[in-house]
């Protein structure tokens, strides 16, 4: 609580009267639907994902991907010397399923592969990492949004996306300076940035970020992009549930990654900060929301690398 009070004092004293350009350093983007504020920053950040070959090998050894095979049967099949899905192709009973799974691995789309994994594996299974491993590093898109409320009919305040380009991590944040009025422009810019990306990476996005984005796009009559999505929350829960008090991104950062955020506001306060901004037009409030969003996205990259190492 003390921290928050200090932050508010700082905003009121230091940032009052400063322009957004001075504080955040972005540009105003004009779109056919109005405008929004865009901040672009670049970071040196490493991403480590297990090599694709290693995961492919793990994939074909997972007999439970074949419909009808669970733990017990898998053990029995191993005793018969059937170790990989390739081996199952020779068994008449599994021939069709096994070969279609191998087809998906070799030639199938990322959607098909993700659908198969979701159908057959538990959430948070490490084999899900085959999704980022199979695509180029440049086609990953790290997403985090800040909104007005937790309802899907809310409005976007900040939309942050991160992607790799020439080995450097680019972070683009769209900021709504006028609630709702700027939302359409943010989404429009987002749709442009999404082109060429194949895989969304989020934290808790399955239940929040992705449905909200889909709903907001549908609200304006836009078709949401068909992009596969990987939610890191499930990995975090599977691995850290027993050792951490909770599985919030900030807790993981502190206890596992050994990072401590300085002067960060908790996500719950974002709507309050935004309404304070609306009343005072002090861009200091926006700065803190944007910083919070930035930290979240950078942590996504770190967390993905961490999970790959486990």
């Amino acid at each position: 609580m003390q921290d928050i009070k200090e932050i508010i004092d700082e905003i009121e004293c230091k940032y009052n009267g400063l322009s957004i350009d001075e504080l955040i350093g972005g540009v105003l983007v004009e779109t056919p639907y109005g405008h929004c504020y865009r901040v672009h920053s670049v970071f040196d950040l490493l991403l480590q994902i297990p090599p694709a070959d290693e995961l492919k090998r793990a994939f074909i050894e997972r007999l439970e991907l074949v419909y009808g095979i669970r733990e017990n049967l898998w053990q029995r099949l191993l005793r018969y010397g059937l170790k990989t899905i390739h081996d199952l192709v020779c068994v008449p009973r599994y021939k069709n399923y096994a070969s279609s799974i191998l087809d998906i691995l070799e030639k199938g789309s990322l959607q098909e592969l993700s659908f198969l994994l979701e159908q057959r594996l538990k959430k948070g299974d490490k084999l899900f990492l085959i999704l980022p491993a199979l695509v180029k590093k440049e086609s990953l898109l790290f997403v985090d949004i800040e909104t007005d409320s937790l309802n899907i009919t809310t409005s976007l305040l900040v939309l942050g996306i991160g992607y790799f380009e020439c080995d450097r991590f680019n972070l683009v944040q769209y900021i709504s300076l006028e609630k709702r009025k700027d939302e359409r422009s943010i989404l429009n810019s987002f749709l442009k940035d999404v082109k060429g990306k194949n895989l969304f990476i989020t934290f808790c996005g399955r239940s929040f970020d992705i449905p909200v984005l889909q709903h907001r796009l549908a609200y304006y009559g836009c078709t949401p992009p068909e992009i596969v999505h990987l939610d890191l929350y499930h990995f975090a829960r599977k691995n850290f549930r027993h050792i951490l008090p909770n599985c919030k991104l900030r807790t993981i950062e502190e206890h596992i990654l050994g990072l401590k955020r300085k002067k960060d506001i908790p996500g719950e306060l974002v709507p309050h900060f935004y309404s304070a901004y609306e009343q005072t037009r002090n861009f200091g409030y926006i700065k803190y929301i944007v910083d919070h969003n930035k930290e979240d996205i950078l942590s996504l990259v770190r967390l993905l690398s961490l999970i790959s190492r486990i």
Partner: protein, 763 residues
């Protein structure tokens, strides 16, 4: 008295129906018996054969061939037309649309259908039939109910898997803003089924019509245009109503090909004081019920209120009549299912019900239906009467007429019950108050760009968009698109007009919400309020919190507010039509209502009248105070006419009473033509200007005025007959007295009213 009475041959083979009629015909209260002749079924073949599942189902249920209306419905739905099936109750309407819909869903693996029922109980009843039908289909269809009772954890599964979803308007209203979760369902929506369509009239119907526009708007956003299937057993104007409801032309199937057994309609006069014989109305109902059950007929008695149901049930128990059950809303669902099953199996020999059993819940056909008191509409009457008759067997309908004006009229004109067309179901799409709330909902669901919009394009909507954005409830973007800033769905009530709402609180529980204009008239301090058969008294009113606190007591008094109304004509779009000796006008009105006092009636017939000026000064036994906030004047539509100076001169001093009586009588008889309640209409008679206003008591109008204007001649004719046939000397509640008159029915001149009609209409 029984001039039309057909004599049955005295033989052992008389059916029990005939025995009951014989038994009742000797009674002096039996006014008339009408015979509705039996009718053979007309079957028809359909062009391409039925799908396998349907043939299998029909065979198992012993159905050899389809009736002509079913065949036609199947052909039309197969051709992708919007259809309104408007045939009698029990004619197999559900089967007629279920077959082609399931056929389509069988062929198209992603297509979906939405069934909308006005009551949860109807959906619970229909799901059984659907589940039985889909058993025979290979493709998964998973019909499911999605309403307020659906557990949270099943909801996503239904959204993602079911291809037939049964819901109600209230649930649909609340789920529409979350349409992105329903992308699969709405994106493949092929059919919208609206069962019991006649329910959607008046304010509720107007809201519902806009709800359908919103649904279609969402479906269009996901790239589909669904077709509509409407069904109703009792509606006078299916073409006009259907088109207004869905916003486009539709094919109407009216000709009923199903067979019907012989039906008798017996009209019973339950007037309190008949030839010096006083007999309680409820006791008369019980007498007939017990006679009917004794003869072995399975009987249903429809009473008007829950209170009556309980009272009659008590009398039955006291008299030891076996096998009788009571049925009304408010009972636990299991109890209701149990009673329904007992009726279907024939274990329960008699049931006393409110309108809860009126709509299509399957309880099988019964032998005798007793209707105690006119349900308010002809369609309601036949909905109830439709419960009588198994397949081709004889059935008896007994109508017990009480003192009410309409019922007395029907007593002398029972042919109206059988010959007149059902009332028109009316909706008022031009009502700006309803449109405003619905438009706000629509914008919060999908952004609205006037240049691309297809559904909300009329002038009223465009005007409202401007107003709403000025009020800050929506935002106008640079490219002209409007976006919502609030989620209004919880505030927009499908049965209401978007007025300020007050919560009724009993022991910290909210039992109901009421709009300000209604609260002003019924919920002042110490007002007695009836809710679900219990009596409450207003204890406290908290204006800031919008709460009215009630206490459950049994007061020994009843308070009626005295309200004085004024009408101002808004001088735009006034339409005029010349009738006989007068001109009838129709136009927009501004109604100003003013509370002028109260009448307190104590048990034992003591009456106290107190005006608002006196209320502070006079010592009252109960602390009555008016409602602290006054509603604004409201705009509505109405008709008015002036009466010639010649009549006025000839009536002299009697004129004010005459014009007053005429106004009351017209309003009393109007529900026979308009599908509405007496309380939906208001009237003002101005003796000084010799003018009568009759207007809709609904803010912004619900479409009643146009019908009234169109059929005013019939209305006047019926009013004349009503007054002529009434046997009272100086006016009674059956003719010119009104239960809600602000002037205590004074002055009043019944004969003068008749003279006015005779002069102006030249009948």
């Amino acid at each position: 008295m029984c001039a039309y009475f057909p004599l049955f041959r005295e033989s052992e083979n008389r059916s029990f129906i005939e025995r009951i009629i014989d038994n009742l015909r000797g009674e002096s209260r039996t006014r008339k018996i009408i015979i509705l002749e039996e009718r053979d079924g007309i079957c028809e073949q359909i062009r391409s054969p039925l799908p396998h599942f349907a043939r299998d189902y029909l065979l198992k249920n012993g159905i050899v061939s389809l009736y002509s209306h079913q065949a036609r419905a199947i052909e039309l739905i197969r051709a992708g037309r919007d259809v309104f099936i408007s045939t009698g109750s029990g004619s197999g309407k559900s089967l007629a649309f279920n077959i082609p819909i399931l056929e389509h869903l069988e062929k198209n693996e992603s297509a979906t259908a939405l069934y909308i029922y006005p009551l949860k109980a109807l959906a619970n009843d229909q799901i059984k039939v659907l589940k039985e039908l889909v058993k025979r289909i290979q493709n998964p269809i998973n019909p499911a109910i999605y309403d307020g009772d659906t557990p949270k954890y099943i909801r996503p599964i239904i959204r993602n898997r079911s291809r037939i979803i049964l819901t109600n308007p209230y649930e649909l209203h609340l789920l529409l803003p979350y349409h992105s979760q329903w992308q699969r369902f709405f994106g493949n929506l092929r059919f919208i089924v609206i069962d019991e369509a006649h329910i959607y009239r008046g304010v509720f119907g107007t809201n519902f019509a806009y709800l359908l526009r919103r649904l279609e708007r969402v479906a269009e956003n996901y790239g589909t245009q669904p077709i509509y299937v409407l069904s109703s057993a009792s509606i006078g104007n299916p073409e006009e109503f259907g088109e207004k409801l869905i916003g486009r032309d539709l094919s109407v199937i009216k000709f009923d090909g199903s067979p019907k057994g012989k039906r008798y309609l017996l009209v019973w006069d339950a007037t309190d004081n008949l030839e010096g014989k006083q007999e309680n109305i409820l006791a008369q109902g019980v007498k007939i019920l017990s006679k009917s059950i004794k003869e072995g007929a399975q009987t249903i008695l429809f009473a008007k209120t829950r209170y009556q149901v309980e009272k009659i049930y008590n009398i039955c128990k006291r008299l030891g009549i076996d096998g009788v059950r009571a049925y009304r809303s408010g009972y636990a669902p299991q109890t209701r299912r149990e009673i329904e099953n007992q009726l279907k199996k024939g274990v329960a020999r008699g049931v006393i019900s409110t309108s809860a059993l009126e709509l299509g819940i399957d309880i099988g056909g019964l032998d005798v239906v007793i209707i105690l008191g006119y349900p308010g509409t002809l369609s309601g009457f036949w909905q109830r009467a439709g419960r009588a008759g198994r397949k081709n067997q004889d059935a008896l309908i007994i109508f017990i007429a009480t003192d009410d004006a309409l019922e007395q009229y029907l007593l002398y004109h029972p042919e109206i019950l059988t010959d007149m067309e059902f009332e028109s179901a009316l909706i008022g799409l031009e009502n700006p108050h309803i449109l405003k709330g619905q438009l706000l909902c629509a914008i919060s669901e999908l952004s609205l760009n006037p240049s691309k919009e297809k559904f909300f394009v009329d002038n009223i909507s465009i005007g409202l968009l401007d107003n709403l954005s000025k009020e800050g409830k929506i935002l106008k973007m640079d490219d002209g698109t409007y976006v919502g800033t609030v989620m209004p769905h919880r505030l927009v009530n499908l049965g209401g007009l978007g007025d300020e709402q007050f919560e009724l609180v009993v022991d910290n529980n909210v039992i109901e919400t009421v709009e300000l204009w209604r609260a002003y008239k019924t919920l002042f301090y110490s007002a007695v309020y009836l809710y679900q058969g219990d009596t409450y008294v207003v204890n406290d009113i908290d204006i800031d919190e919008r709460k009215i606190k009630l206490e459950k007591v049994e007061p020994n008094y009843f308070v009626t507010p005295l309200i004085c109304s004024e009408a101002h004509i808004v001088d735009e779009d006034v339409v005029a039509r010349r009738y006989g000796n007068f001109t009838l006008y129709m136009g927009r009105l501004l109604i100003h209502e003013e509370l002028i006092g109260f009448i307190i009636e104590f048990e034992g017939c003591r009456r106290v009248k107190v005006t608002l000026d006196d209320i502070e000064r006079v010592e009252l036994p109960i602390p009555i105070r008016p409602f602290p906030v006054k509603p604004d004047d409201f705009d509505t539509k109405g008709i008015w006419f002036d009466i010639s100076w010649k009549v006025r001169a000839s009536l002299g001093d009697r004129f004010p009473g005459s014009i007053h009586g005429l106004e009351h009588a017209i309003i009393g008889i109007a529900p026979l033509i308009l599908s509405c309640d007496r309380w939906d209409l208001g009237g003002i008679s101005l003796p000084s200007d010799a003018r009568i206003f009759i207007y809709e008591g609904i803010k912004g109008s619900a479409g009643l005025t146009e019908k009234m204007f169109e059929r005013f001649e019939d209305l006047l004719k019926m009013t004349k007959e009503l007054i002529e046939n009434c046997k009272c000397d100086y006016g009674c509640p059956s003719c010119v007295l009104s239960p809600k008159c602000g002037n205590e029915n004074k002055p009043m001149d019944k004969r003068g009213a008749l003279e006015i009609i005779k002069f102006i209409a030249k009948f």
